[in-house]
């Protein structure tokens, strides 16, 4: 008997309890204790998740004995150039309904005959039964007019005479039970259909177990880090409340057993993101960044919402267990529209073209937030979602290709923009967008395991990089304090985030510096760090998918790998190596242990995180995840050669970075878009924000004012007031027999009404 798996709801309850406790008592216990309370909650959630994961591992069944009742086999029916092995899952899918959320159908009782009746029999109550017939007009199964006729006439069947021979179970209505009429119509009892309520439920399989571990694990580390990073913020309590709420919401997202539960988490993480980006709300820029994130996400959510309505219309359910096994039933427009709408949602949450614009701005939030929400967990929700509902995508190769193309384009463009950034966090932000594009390329090639694998390794090394960046910013602030002066902010970038003021920080903050270096090399895809394995896996799968489009995407992926190494190398060189370029950097100091210990843990994970994919170790990762997402084995390609090509691209990127920025002192005057037209365009982020502003934002604001001032106050209200004024004029004209204004109106209304009553009586049938 499992002990920990039934405690799954507790994993959710712990961070939620943290939120409630912090709201109720946070003021009394103070900021420091608030931080530790929140951290403890997530820590326990992580421990429980670990226990659940180990226990789940033990539920493995022999491959032969498949087909237990808990099985919801998500058969992968896509057609790929790669072969699929082992169709029957070895681990059970565990679903747990928590409560019925929305009841959307209800049985209509019909009166039926309990015993056979002959023509002319008089019916009394003892001959009747009431049966429930589930009602749904989604499927139109019920002949409503019959049942409703029955309802209108209440109990009129009683005491009447059968005019038709009535079988047992036949519905009684005025049609077969009547005193007079002789018309006979056939009646049938509608077939019973299933329960159509929308439930709140949890689902446990390897995909959700993995996400559970990543979220609680990385979340726990970032909570610890935050206790140090936010130590001097007076609003710590609010910060940790939001952070706990986020962990809860993210867990709802990945544990939800239906589209709708997933969507609950999906929107809640968006709200937490909104609150945390604008955490330092006194600055207008932060507040605007938060709002932008929420609204851009909502555009994606609209697509998701419509997608759910479409799925509901077709399946009458939104539970994964009901919809996904029947995904192939979708045909025609719906088959392609459903995954495309979900993709629309994913482009918002995971910052892909065309909705990626919010993520770079989101770096306005505290750095641990960037690490947790905007790198490791929330922004990967789109990838998770596509993997989770992959049968819908498998069913529509066109939608798959769209996912891959969106991913490829985003990966490339974001990597290009990252090349010219000088803000340490912005480089990482664009890098995140680019890496998410990588994951989209993977899932768009049907390589769900590879996509989720990269999701995990990326969570390790990108969280590490963001936290490291935060620690380095701390170090810079520390140095500026020591030096008694801080460098001027250039191009509107705070000095402590500006890489132009850094340099040589590896010596000044060794723990942070070395771990940052490991994270950077993992991101660049250097053998044998985590990023190498997952990136290699994706490139391999994209190429293996075959076809011209995917071969082109492979080239894009390779180019992006090169660019990734280039901008990462540039960042590492500018930040960690060379001579300090400001007094603040020269006197920078290491951060406290509460911040560096999480860095070290993440660095270890960034080193070894790629190993579970190795077949030499039994490939535990693909084996387990493939259980949910379908087993793929790539054949016919030389993996070693491809790995060498990918490695060469990465090393070339790093080499070029060294040639440009490490060989000699970099020319700071050429940075921030001052090195020619191309760099200016990239520095301007391809002017997408400006284009959106001109195309959407400005017209919206202008039309809003026109609608209010001109249309509403002028036209609509004016029309009505005009009617009023003409009535008034009529009143003036006829004031001999009508006194005041309102009384005049009232009288004319009453008079008119009386006339109409009179007319109606005359015209009555």
């Amino acid at each position: 008997m499992p002990t920990f798996i039934p405690l799954l709801p507790l994993v959710l309850a712990l961070p939620l309890a943290g939120v409630v406790l912090l709201v109720l008592f946070g003021g009394r216990i103070g900021g420091r204790a608030s931080g530790w309370l929140a951290t403890t909650m997530v820590g326990f959630a992580f421990l429980l998740s670990l226990a659940i994961a180990f226990e789940y591992e033990g539920l493995r069944e022999a491959p032969a004995s498949s087909g237990t009742e808990a099985d919801h086999a998500l058969d992968d029916e896509g057609s790929h150039s790669v072969e699929e092995h082992g169709a029957s899952p070895e681990w059970p899918v565990i679903e747990r309904k928590l409560w019925r959320w929305m009841r959307v159908n209800r049985s209509l009782p019909l009166v039926v005959a309990a015993e056979p009746l002959a023509v002319g029999d008089t019916i009394d109550e003892t001959m009747l039964d009431i049966v429930d017939v589930p009602y749904t007009d989604a499927l139109g199964i019920l002949d409503l007019s019959i049942s409703v006729h029955r309802m209108w006439s209440a109990d009129q069947a009683l005491g009447l005479v059968a005019r038709d021979a009535i079988e047992v179970g036949e519905v009684l209505s005025d049609m077969n039970v009547s005193a007079g009429a002789d018309q006979i119509r056939p009646l049938g009892i509608p077939e019973a259909v299933g329960d159509f309520s929308l439930d709140v439920g949890l689902r446990l399989d390897w995909l959700s177990v993995l996400m559970l571990l990543v979220i609680t694990g990385v979340g726990f580390l970032i909570h610890i880090y935050s206790t140090g990073y936010m130590a001097h913020d007076p609003d710590r309590r609010r910060y940790f409340t939001y952070l706990n709420l986020f962990v809860f919401s993210m867990l709802v997202l990945v544990l939800g057993s239906s589209f709708l539960t997933l969507f609950v988490g999906w929107e809640l993480v968006g709200a937490c993101s909104y609150l945390l980006i604008g955490f330092w709300h006194r600055s207008e820029a932060n507040a605007s960044a938060g709002r932008k994130a929420f609204i851009v996400n909502r555009i994606g959510d609209l697509a998701f919402l419509v997608g759910m309505m479409l799925l509901w219309t077709h399946f009458g359910s939104l539970a994964f267990g009901d919809v996904l096994p029947r995904a192939a039933e979708l045909t025609g427009l719906a088959a392609i529209a459903a995954p495309l709408l979900l993709l629309g949602g994913a482009t918002g949450k995971s910052a892909q073209i065309p909705l990626y614009v919010w993520l770079p701005d989101a770096m306005a939030g505290p750095t641990p937030v960037s690490a947790l929400i905007h790198a490791a967990t929330m922004v990967t929700a789109g990838v998770y979602m596509i993997a989770r509902v992959h049968p819908l995508f498998d069913n529509a190769p066109g939608a798959m290709a769209a996912v891959a193309v969106v991913g490829g384009a985003t990966a490339l463009i974001a990597a290009l923009i990252a090349l010219v950034q000088v803000d340490i966090k912005r480089v990482l932000a664009y890098s995140t967008v680019s890496q998410l594009g990588y994951m989209f390329m993977a899932v768009g090639s049907g390589a769900y395991v590879a996509g989720v694998f990269h999701l995990m390794t990326h969570a390790f090394f990108k969280a590490l990089l963001f936290l490291g960046a935060g620690s380095l910013m701390h170090a810079m602030e520390h140095g500026a304090e020591h030096a008694g002066e801080h460098p001027e902010a250039l191009d509107g970038i705070p000095y402590e985030q500006d890489m132009r003021h850094m340099g040589g920080l590896l010596r000044r903050a060794p723990r942070t510096g070395w771990t940052f270096l490991i994270g950077g090399l993992a991101l660049a895809g250097v053998f044998p760090l985590a990023g190498f394995w997952s990136k290699d896996e994706i490139l391999l799968e994209v190429l293996a998918h075959g076809g011209g489009l995917y071969t082109a995407l492979y080239a894009v992926g390779l180019l992006t790998a090169f660019l990734t190494a280039l901008y990462t190398g540039r960042q590492l060189l500018l930040v960690l190596f060379g001579e300090p370029r400001s007094e603040a950097a020269a006197q920078a100091g290491e951060s406290p242990l509460s911040m560096t210990v999480p860095l070290i843990v993440l660095a270890v994970l960034s080193i070894v995180g790629g190993l579970p994919v190795l077949s030499a170790l039994g490939a535990p990762f693909p084996e387990r995840l493939g259980d949910v997402l379908g087993h793929h084995a790539v054949e016919g390609l030389d993996k070693i050669v491809l790995a060498l090509i990918a490695s060469a691209a990465a090393l070339a990127g790093l080499g070029l970075a060294w040639w440009m920025y490490g060989r000699r002192v970099p020319d700071l005057g050429l940075m921030a878009g001052r090195a020619g037209a191309a760099s200016r365009v990239l520095w301007g982020k391809l002017y997408v924000d400006e284009a959106y502003h001109i195309l959407f934002v400005a017209p919206f604001v202008r039309i809003a004012r026109v609608l209010w001032k001109f249309v509403d106050n002028g036209l609509v209200d004016g029309a009505v007031n005009g009617v009023g004024r003409s009535l008034l004029a009529a009143g003036q004209w006829s004031r001999r027999w009508q006194g005041g204004r309102v009384r005049g109106y009232g009288l004319s209304i009453l008079l008119g009404a009386a006339l109409m009553v009179a007319w109606l009586f005359v015209a009555a049938p």
Binding site: V23, E284, I299
Partner: protein
């Protein structure tokens, strides 16, 4: 389903409806002016009404379709219609699953509005309280009346105190606003009276009772379908009668383009008046559609549905868009109501079970959320004596508790999952999508538009550098929190466990929706 029952044999419902009126009379009879005593009476009677309606909500049998005596209308009083006035006018009140939640909402918001008014009103306190109580009885009667004439009496009875509340205790343009409100609603309700009289004569065979009228309207069509001889109304007459009802209700909702009285009325009304106006008075319009305009004329409703759905979608877009431009917080909330009421209308005119259930639940949600928003803006106004968005900024630091409560209500208003707004919007939109995907998709844009104006306003008021005015603000008092807390709790309750309200609503709307479709099929052919 056209059955009434009163299992308790006790006039619970009548007590609920008429207790506030009794309180008003009592206050009027009090010999001396004791504002505190007046308030005590008012709070006690409104509180008792709330307690009774809570009991009825808990006691409402949602499984009436299988439980004897299978009556949708429960707590009927008297159990069988009583003769009231000559000419076939009867007296009977009762609640089905749709009415009961609205009755409960009315008693809750009336109580909270009175609690809020304890400090907000300083002139003619006694008259004010009495009018609030009379208003409550009027609205409750609208939601319970089972006789069309009785319904009309309550409808008008609710109108008059509201006009006086705006006209006497309102802002600087109160006279203009109250006249505008009066004329709009009068124009609609006069036609409705004509339609009611006409219906009673032909459909009800001289009876004004709801069951008689609806039976008279629907039976002939059903009989005809099944070959039983009988006469039906001429289609153009049905259209005319439907139009008379629909106009009265559309003005009340308000459906675009009949909405322009709403911003004026809201901006001028005292806070408690706005709470009742937006919270429950507007629901009289949507309730009228659900109770009368649709079931009485199913085939006309089906034919007219595309028009109403179009107006609803326009309302969603237009209300939100105009709200975005507002400079006054109260008129922003008022225009947001136009948008939200559009979503309710979208759900109702989907004419299916899901949409109708969503629409009715959204009536409750909108009452709670918008009621809370008006209370919040009112509390701010009491301190700052302005509602201009630009005057604030950085309010969060000065009023953290106020800000958190505002934030939760804002999330409910934009329909974030976990709050009541999501459940209602989702079901309404899902229903509309099933009617035709286009309606669902166009309506769903409200999700983005709502976030646009709400978040912009929130940012300008609460975030950014602190204005001088904001810095001088003090946070909420315990009494103010006590007024808001029930609403916040309900917002989350309905978001997480809506069954308390959704079950009775759904039990009733499922049947009504089936009846609507059947009625239309019968009249037009399947």
């Amino acid at each position: 389903m056209l059955e009434t029952a009163n299992a308790q044999g006790f006039p619970l419902l009548s007590l609920t409806v008429f207790l506030p009126l009794a309180g008003a009379v009592l206050i009027a009879l009090m010999p001396k002016r004791h504002p505190l005593l007046d308030f005590a009476i008012a709070i006690m009677t409104a509180g008792a009404a709330f307690a009774l309606s809570t009991g009825m909500l808990a006691g409402y049998d949602s499984d009436w379709m299988v439980n004897s005596p299978r009556a949708a209308f429960q707590f009927a009083d008297p159990a069988t219609p009583a003769r009231w006035l000559p000419g076939g006018i009867t007296f009977q009140i009762g609640v089905d699953g749709i009415s009961i939640v609205l009755v409960w909402l009315t008693t809750l918001l009336s109580l909270l509005a009175l609690l809020f008014s304890a400090t907000a009103v300083r002139v003619r306190v006694r008259e004010y309280i009495a009018l609030m109580l009379i208003l409550e009885t009027g609205i409750l009667g609208v939601f319970c009346a089972l006789d069309l004439f009785l319904f009309y009496v309550f409808w008008e009875a609710a109108l008059i105190p509201m006009i006086l509340l705006i006209g006497i205790w309102g802002g600087s343009r109160r006279i203009y606003a109250s006249y505008k409100f009066l004329l709009y609603t009068m124009a609609g309700s006069a036609l409705m009276l004509v339609a009611i009289i006409g219906l009673a004569q032909w459909a009800g065979n001289g009876s004004f009772h709801y069951f008689d009228v609806i039976g008279g309207m629907v039976r002939p069509a059903l009989d005809q379908r099944f070959g039983i001889p009988g006469t039906t109304f001429a289609m153009d007459l049905r259209v005319a009668l439907f139009a008379a009802f629909a106009l009265a209700f559309a003005v009340k909702v308000p459906l675009f383009p009949f909405h322009t009285w709403l911003p004026d009325a809201h901006v001028e009304a005292p806070t408690a008046g706005s709470v009742i106006l937006a919270g429950v008075l507007l629901k009289m319009g949507t309730y009228g559609f659900v109770r009368f305009a649709l079931p009485l004329f199913p085939e006309v409703a089906h034919a007219a549905a595309p028009w109403f759905l179009t107006l609803a979608v326009i309302g969603i877009w237009y209300g939100a868009w105009v709200a975005f431009a507002q400079e006054d917080m109260k008129s922003l909330v008022a225009y947001s109501s136009v948008s939200h009421m559009g979503i309710i209308m979208l759900g109702i005119f989907a004419l299916n079970a899901i949409g109708m259930a969503g629409g009715v639940l959204q009536m409750v949600n909108h009452g709670l959320t918008t009621g809370a928003l008006f209370l919040l803006v009112g509390m701010l106004y009491e301190r700052a004596h302005t509602r201009e968005i630009a005057a604030f900024g950085g309010l969060w630091s000065a009023m953290p508790r106020f800000s958190v409560l505002f934030l939760i209500i804002l999330f409910a208003s934009v329909g974030l999952p976990g709050t009541n707004g999501f459940v209602g919007e989702w079901l309404s939109l899902l229903g509309a999508y099933q009617a035709h995907p286009v309606w669902g998709i166009l309506g769903a844009f409200g999700v983005i538009l709502g976030a646009l104006y709400m978040l912009s306003m929130f940012q300008r008021v609460f975030f950014g550098p602190q204005s001088e005015l904001s810095a001088s603000m003090t946070d909420l008092t315990a009494r103010e929190i006590a007024v808001l807390l029930p609403l916040v709790v309900l917002v989350l309750w309905i978001g997480i466990y809506p069954a308390t309200f959704l079950d009775p609503i759904e039990a009733t709307s499922t049947v009504w929706a089936a009846a609507l479709r059947a009625g239309a099929e019968v009249a037009v052919g399947p």
